[in-house]
């Protein structure tokens, strides 16, 4: 079915660390990619009411222009030879503290340009969609300001040429995520969800800051060039620690186990936010970090294996959680968690998988944005309802949304010729090349994906209508459906395009390296087995949900279902592991401060008071007792003098 790419089996290509070209010509405008959305954000957030009427147009314009610029840069890059595609642009010297110097500088190479394209193109579509989705919201201008801020920070993250500037972008997207999840801050659940996302992200950020510190201590610099070129000289334990710390950061940002609890709550934000941040871009920043640091992970088996294990675990638990959620957005969030697990799994496989992690990241960005925006369109039609048990038969009223969702649905399940088929099957193939258990887990997760996506599809679009009395579903306006159509076409064709028209493997190999090993069974057989397992998942879902869906969630369900409805008890686990001990420690310290520290101070004061109370009874007012004391004193002094005189 799928022909192998130009690199034949059992081949291995190491990443080339060629020197970066200076940014000239069109690449002199790299900084503009970030500056435009940033300026848009500043304008929209500082001008207040004056830009309310046309603010959204400014927001859309900045991202669209950045997208056009990025496409121009891609065309220019494609015209050059493979060794000549990396560019570096320094803006100014930022940190100069003795030996530690960091510049604000950008690096545009094959890896960053694909991210830039994903962010700006999908971002533009989501911006356009938001014009319609947020049309009745009085804070629409502020929404676009935050969206632009997010795009600027994310672009900074992928264009930075050193880890510290990447960290700035990292924090920026975390901030934008907080602002956007809690956009409707008058809703207590949204405010709490924003706080939860930020705090859990922060735990991961500790990993990134420690990794940066470790890099500076080991290599003397934090730029990608110096770290990756001297990675071979560092000790094994240092590299392992850096790898694990970077994994901690990636787990926080990409909602991987054990820092995944925030992603489902993040669905409190408006749907375009879920589509852009929590499906296509921010949550993929972790995968970017790992793939960018491939020089480190190639040299430490322990850290790479940990990445693999985390990916496998998250892939499975995301799928299980997504299967039990009745809220359409939460089900899609579980799906996102699982698909990013696929990407992290691929990144943990080493050179066999880096390219496919990014490939799946790109296709997933498109089809997941598609799915989320379709869900938003459905919610828009159903009065912002999210309970799938109240949907049903929406194919009859919303044809374009139904079509787009179907394309996304087929893509995520990996049905050929949709995009997901190419990227997912490549990951499964790579998993079997490196680690059979990971491969089996990936195939299993594909089956569960088939199940939960079909469940979602059936409950929402097929079957009988289970609508509320007030719901009058209708198709969304063109400003919302046109991005859906574009993303739907992307879900159909992006995968094939990146294999046959522009080969993603040869594009990314100079940055990540590529290796290909033979596997026990032929590729086509593996693809057929995967497809069969997916279809089994589909069949089970059809059997359960096609005929009738109860409006109230059934209570007599298996233990696993109850656990999945409770997000596999991640909140309870976080509570026991982190929240309670901290709370108890704080209480203990308060007790210690009150009783022991204050007690010591108070006790010494009481002692002095008590002693003085007793001592002052010597002053009893009797002259003769004073005279006696004087006589005793004289005798003591004379005795002392006699002793001294004698000695």
């Amino acid at each position: 079915m799928v022909t192998e790419s130009a690199v034949t089996a059992a081949a291995s290509v190491a990443p080339t660390l060629e020197p970066l070209n200076a940014a000239t010509g069109i690449f002199a405008w790299i900084w503009l990619l970030i500056a435009l959305p940033l300026a848009g954000a500043v304008v929209l957030l500082t001008t207040g009411r004056w830009t309310n009427r046309f603010g959204h147009l400014i927001g859309v314009a900045t991202v669209v222009i950045s997208a056009a610029l990025a496409i121009a840069m891609l065309v220019e890059m494609m015209g050059r030879s493979a060794e000549d595609r990396a560019f570096e642009q320094t803006l100014y010297s930022w940190v100069f503290a003795g030996q530690f110097t960091v510049d604000v500088a950008f690096q545009l190479d094959q890896l960053s340009i694909v991210f830039v394209l994903l962010i700006t193109i999908v971002g533009s579509l989501i911006h356009i969609y938001s014009i319609g989705y947020m049309a009745e919201d009085p804070d629409r201008r502020r929404f676009f300001g935050f969206l632009n801020l997010f795009v600027a920070a994310m672009l900074l993250l992928v264009l930075a040429d050193n880890f510290l500037l990447l960290y700035v972008g990292w924090e920026g997207v975390g901030l934008a995520s907080f602002l956007l999840i809690g956009f409707w801050q008058y809703k207590p659940s949204a405010a709490a969800a924003a706080k939860k996302a930020f705090v859990i992200n922060r735990v991961g950020d500790v990993g990134l800051s420690l990794a940066i510190m470790l890099m500076f201590v080991t290599f003397g610099s934090v730029t990608f060039e110096s770290v990756f070129s001297s990675a071979g000289e560092a000790s094994d334990s240092t590299l392992t620690w850096i790898g694990l710390l970077l994994l901690l950061a990636a787990a926080g940002k990409s909602a991987q186990f054990p820092l995944q609890a925030w992603l489902l709550d993040a669905m409190e934000g408006p749907t375009p936010v879920s589509a852009l941040i929590h499906a296509a871009t921010m949550v993929t920043a972790g995968v970017y970090l790992i793939v960018r640091s491939n020089a480190i992970y190639d040299r430490t088996v322990f850290a790479a294996t940990t990445v693999l294990v985390i990916g496998v675990i998250t892939m499975i638990i995301g799928a299980i959680i997504g299967s039990a959620k009745d809220d359409i957005k939460k089900a899609l969030a579980g799906s996102t968690m699982s698909q990013i697990g696929y990407m992290v799994l691929a990144a943990g496989l080493g050179p066999v998988g880096y390219v496919f992690a990014i490939f799946h990241l790109l296709t997933h960005g498109v089809f997941k944005a598609n799915l989320f925006l379709s869900a938003g369109s459905v919610m828009h039609a159903m009065n912002n309802g999210v309970d799938m048990r109240r949907f049903g038969a929406l194919r009859t009223v919303m044809l374009i949304t139904f079509g787009a969702f179907t394309f996304g649905y087929l893509a995520i399940m990996g049905i050929p010729p949709f995009s997901g088929f190419y990227s997912k099957d490549k990951i499964i193939h790579a998993a079997f090349e490196q680690n059979t258990i990971a491969g089996i887990a990936a195939v299993l997760a594909a089956g569960i994906t088939g199940f939960y996506m079909t469940r979602m599809f059936t409950m929402t679009f097929l079957g009988k209508a289970r609508w509320d009395d007030e719901a009058h579903p209708h198709e969304s306006p063109p400003v919302m459906t046109i991005p859906l159509i574009v993303l739907g076409l992307g879900s159909l064709g992006l995968g094939a395009a990146l294999v046959y028209w522009g080969d993603i493997v040869s594009w990314l190999t100079p940055v990540t390296g590529y290796e290909s090993k033979p596997i026990a069974i032929p590729t086509t057989v593996l693809e057929l087995i995967t497809l069969a397992i997916v279809l089994i998942g589909v069949a089970i879902a059809v059997l359960i949900y096609a005929r009738s869906v109860p409006i109230e969630p059934p209570q007599k369900v298996s233990v696993l279902t109850i656990a999945a409805r409770n997000n596999l008890y991640d909140d309870a686990t976080n509570d026991i592991v982190a929240v309670r001990p901290t709370w108890y420690a704080a209480r203990f310290l308060v007790w210690f401060d009150n009783r022991v520290v204050d007690g010591a101070v108070n006790a010494s004061a009481a002692f002095v008071g008590g002693a003085s109370g007793r001592l002052r009874r010597i002053q009893n007012g009797f002259t003769r007792s004073y005279a006696l004391v004087m006589v005793i004193g004289v005798i003591v002094v004379l005795g002392a003098l006699a002793l001294v005189g004698l000695s």
Binding site: R616, G621, R624
Partner: protein, 99 residues
Amino acid sequence: MNPENYIILAGVLFTIGSIGVLVRRNAIVVFMSIELMLNAANLAFVSFARINGNLDGQIVAFFVMVVAAAEVVVGLAIIVTVFRSRRSASIDEPNLLKY
């Protein structure tokens, strides 16, 4: 004649005087005991002057006598004043300067 005996006598007189200060309750008797102590000191000074063969001790005895006289004046004035207000010459009586 042994001048050292006079030293011993001075010491005995001093001890009697100090015991008198500590034991007796009447203020006048306490003063008399103080005078006894001062005179014991005078005796000691003069005896030492005799032992050392110079007149330094006798000159200091003059000083002591002057000081004792002045002190008696002041002290008796205080006792008379206290007696006038309290009608008692006991030194245990005025004990208000206490904790």
